[in-house]
């Protein structure tokens, strides 16, 4: 008897991606560049977040031919995004056979109250979170992998740092909290008690935690890994830079050897005079322009 779509195999694929870089790509050519640079997976989408920001309007699941073309172009896993709460888009991606579904705040939310019931799917989901409560709510809904939200397409690491620190601090708090406090802590976090107990006992999330949202340089990647990320999503940082091939490879190298400054130095040096993507001051963005607060 073989069982597919179990929690073990859904969480397991994320475990196999640890220590790696997942890159946003918008064409099969991008996907090939990402794979050649050493990406562990690609995120297939029509526009990278910086361009979604610039374009405005409603951002939806990408076209099927585009995703299929990217699946055919590489041997590494392919992820694709659905709007928050849009379970029909997720059904379509599962039918298409993508390897992971990102229920993402980068797209325009389809439901302003509820997320997808991710337990109902065989294909695993990754979801964004700004703090521990949000991460545990997504895991309760069936997410098999969590990423920080950061502020996508900003080229500014400050929000990702805030979210990774918030998650890490809250986990450390729970791991030393007396047992009698856990019911009240679960209420404060807005998360199921069973998951709160599990985090308190193990000192970590029950699923893999990646960083996303604002990574633009090899040093950004090394920073996030040292803050406890188990891997890195790079959205606009590669294909909005002046030299995507070099940036892709340099970010992979810095993620692999994040605690070895001599390797990170070499990764930074390898960029030569190529510039990183232009960044945005997140404080200058209006409430309506911010992506991270979407979904909670």
């Amino acid at each position: 008897m073989e069982s597919t779509g179990t929690i073990v195999v859904k969480r397991g694929l994320a475990q196999m991606l640890k220590g790696g870089v997942i890159m946003d790509v918008v064409t099969p050519d991008h996907a090939a560049i990402a794979q050649e640079a050493g990406a562990v997976a690609v995120m297939a989408l029509e526009r990278i977040p910086a361009d979604i920001r610039a374009a405005g309007g409603v951002a939806r699941m990408s076209g099927i031919d585009l995703i299929r073309g990217i699946m055919d172009a590489v041997t590494i896993p392919v992820m694709a995004k659905v709007r928050i709460g849009h379970f029909a888009e997720a059904q379509v991606l599962q039918q298409l056979g993508v390897d992971y579904i990102d229920e993402s705040e980068v797209l325009t939310p389809a439901d302003d109250r509820y997320h997808v019931d991710k337990h109902a799917f065989k294909t695993p989901f990754v979801c964004g979170a700004r703090d521990l409560g949000e991460a545990l709510r997504r895991i309760a809904e069936g997410a098999a992998m969590i990423r920080s939200k950061g502020e996508a397409g900003s080229g500014n690491i400050v929000e990702a740092v805030r979210h990774m620190r918030a998650i890490g601090d809250a986990i450390r708090d729970l791991s030393v909290a007396p047992k009698e406090e856990l019911v009240a802590r679960a209420r404060e976090l807005g998360a199921p008690l069973e998951l709160v107990r599990e985090v308190a006992a193990n000192g970590r999330l029950p699923v893999v935690l990646f960083c996303a949202g604002g990574v633009a340089t090899p040093a950004d990647a090394a920073l996030m890994m040292q803050l406890g990320a188990e891997g890195i999503f790079v959205g606009s940082g590669i294909f909005k830079s002046k030299d995507p091939k070099r940036f892709a490879r340099a970010i992979v190298d810095a993620t692999t050897h994040f605690s070895e400054p001599s390797v990170v130095l070499e990764a930074c040096r390898s960029l030569g005079m190529s510039e990183a993507m232009p960044g945005l001051d997140v404080r200058q963005l209006s409430e309506a322009e911010l992506m991270a607060p979407r979904g909670n």
């Binding site: 069982s3 597919t4 195999v9 397991g12 475990q15 196999m16 640890k18 562990v40 896993p77 056979g97």
Partner: protein, 204 residues
């Protein structure tokens, strides 16, 4: 530096993949386990595990950080090696269909993602004679299978007629992930290979 059969130290290749899970499983089997990130780390271990992960990524990193040749030299000189899933692909002689470099440490041809993409990833009980009668809880994640075994390669387990566990002398490879299974019998089998290898080296 000889292998001490009583206190072996197992290295887990730590460039990318489920390294922590392998470290934890080895420690549950009561052996010392350490990360191997560079050739200096490699000199301090008696055996090496190449974990689950992405084979294209790890082959590039092995090459960029000059670990490929030292690993090949150690394994050819007798160091026990175990590859799980990605590790099996990296250790194989060749990959079917795609042009992908490998370390060529075990004479098999593997097919990547042979059981399908993630939706086909599965848990199942496998009967593996060398582990005893009780079935082994095998976890396959976008797993490869073995398409061809060269002479001298022992086929130790099959799934639906496809090879998923093989051994050739000091090299062991599994398509599945015993480090996630909570059953340490494959670990013990590998550690037994290590101890026997150590005795052989000591006698020589």
């Amino acid at each position: 530096m000889g292998i001490n059969p009583s206190t072996p130290r197992v290295g887990i290749l730590a460039l990318q993949g489920d390294v922590v899970e392998h470290l934890a499983a080895m420690r549950s089997a009561e052996v010392e386990a350490v990360e191997v990130k560079n050739s200096r780390d490699l000199t301090g271990v008696d055996a090496l595990v190449i974990p689950g992960g992405e084979s294209t990524t790890v082959m590039k990193l092995l090459n960029r950080f000059s670990l490929d040749r030292p690993i090949v030299a150690r394994v050819r000189a007798g160091m026990p090696l175990w590859g799980t899933c990605m590790g099996m692909i990296v250790a194989a002689r060749e990959v079917a269909d795609v042009a992908q470099p490998t370390l060529n440490l075990i004479d098999v041809t593997v097919r990547r993602n042979a059981f399908g993409r993630q939706n086909e990833s599965a848990e199942m009980d496998l009967s593996i004679a060398v582990l005893g009668e009780a079935p082994f809880p095998a976890i396959f994640i976008r797993a490869p299978w073995i398409e061809r075994c060269g002479p001298g390669v022992e086929l130790l387990a099959q799934r639906d007629g496809h090879g998923v566990m093989v051994r050739q002398n000091n090299v062991l490879a599994t398509s599945f992930h015993p480090e996630l299974a909570g059953d340490l019998r494959v670990h013990r089998y590998f550690l037994d290979m290590l101890v026997k290898q150590g005795k052989k080296t000591a006698a020589a």
